[in-house]
Subunit: 209 residues, 2 copies
């Protein structure tokens, strides 16, 4: 059985939804970020980076969403969560997820995680002011080309979709009106109708309450 | 024939070395970052993100190092640049490269690319001061566990190695003494002895001169 470490509201939601979509046998283990549990000595033994997601497998522990998502797709091929037999199409999937991980998530993180990259309160305030613009620029690219529709890669639902849904949930808090992004809004609506998404969101929110 | 867009000193070096190691038929196309050529209308048609690397293939254009590196490994299996038949081991490769892309490169980028995330000169100065500490913390994790040795994944050279080499080249400019990181220093030395690395470095530096 897999064990996925997550915290509500974090990017670990993407891997959580993918495990559910794949029909994997797993347990979701909630960390309390308010108590800084991700930096506890016990958790640092699991993931020395002090972040989520971390997926415990019988072979060892995996971290980083793009890697975990590709692992789930490759390990559960019947779920058809990625074009596994086409290196170019698979690279397109990885490219999209890499962009979410390294550019979109990073832009968003400057709202609340500025201490990763600076020390002064004035810098944090400056960073927070920039988030609607920097995240907005990312989502303009997603809206105008990267999101093929109806799913990210077109007709086939893939591991890109739970990841895009996860970062799209941050838009409102980043002061970006999703109504200005109709294709992203449509994607969010489609995602929220999926049983796997409803089950995972219910579990995460129930535990968080 | 593939075409790789790069600029000297950037992370595109990782994909450039991997193409060379794979024995791919490719041409490297240099962009002039000092002239901001990556933001020119012609280049934005190739990569709307205005970044490098971008790999032009006969199927279309790929961006993002982790995706391009995996694509090269999968397309040239005889070069044995990744454990292609083992989803867990492949995910370990992707996890390492994702960390370089989304955490190490991002920490480094706060030295010279602060305008991505803030607007004030005081914030940029604050970010610059943090780089030795933030990049240093990343490399402490790499030195003390992630880099298995002699290559990143152990005995087998993979697509993690040119990527680690690429970001290791930034250490000196980030005011981190590589002598404090003996395993990383050994890795850099091993890499610099590889014919593919020497050929690519020669080409990039000659063109840059």
């Amino acid at each position: 059985m897999y064990k996925l470490y997550y915290a509500p509201g974090t990017c670990a939601l993407a891997s959580h939804i993918a495990l559910e979509e794949a029909g994997a046998d797993y347990r979701a283990e909630r960390l309390d970020f308010k108590a800084n549990q991700q930096q506890s000595p016990d958790y640092l033994k699991i993931n020395p980076k002090g972040r989520v997601p971390a997926l415990v497998t019988d072979r060892g522990i995996l971290t980083e969403n793009p890697a975990i998502l590709a692992y789930i797709a490759q390990t559960f091929p019947k779920a058809k969560l990625a074009p596994l037999d086409d290196p170019f199409a698979f690279a397109q999937v990885q490219s999209f997820n890499s962009y979410l991980c390294a550019t979109v998530h990073v832009a968003h993180a400057h709202k609340g995680r500025g201490a990763r990259w600076a020390t002064e309160e004035s810098s944090f305030a400056d960073m927070r002011r920039m988030v609607p613009k920097s995240v907005g620029a990312c989502f303009a690219l997603i809206e105008n080309g990267m999101l093929k529709g109806p799913w990210v890669m077109g007709e086939q639902y893939t591991i890109c979709d739970p990841y895009l849904y996860t970062v799209s949930l941050w838009l409102e808090g980043d002061s970006i009106d999703v109504k200005t992004l109709p294709r992203v809004a449509d994607h969010m609506k489609r995602m929220s109708g999926r049983p796997a998404v409803q089950k995972v969101m219910g579990e995460q929110q129930a535990k968080a309450a």
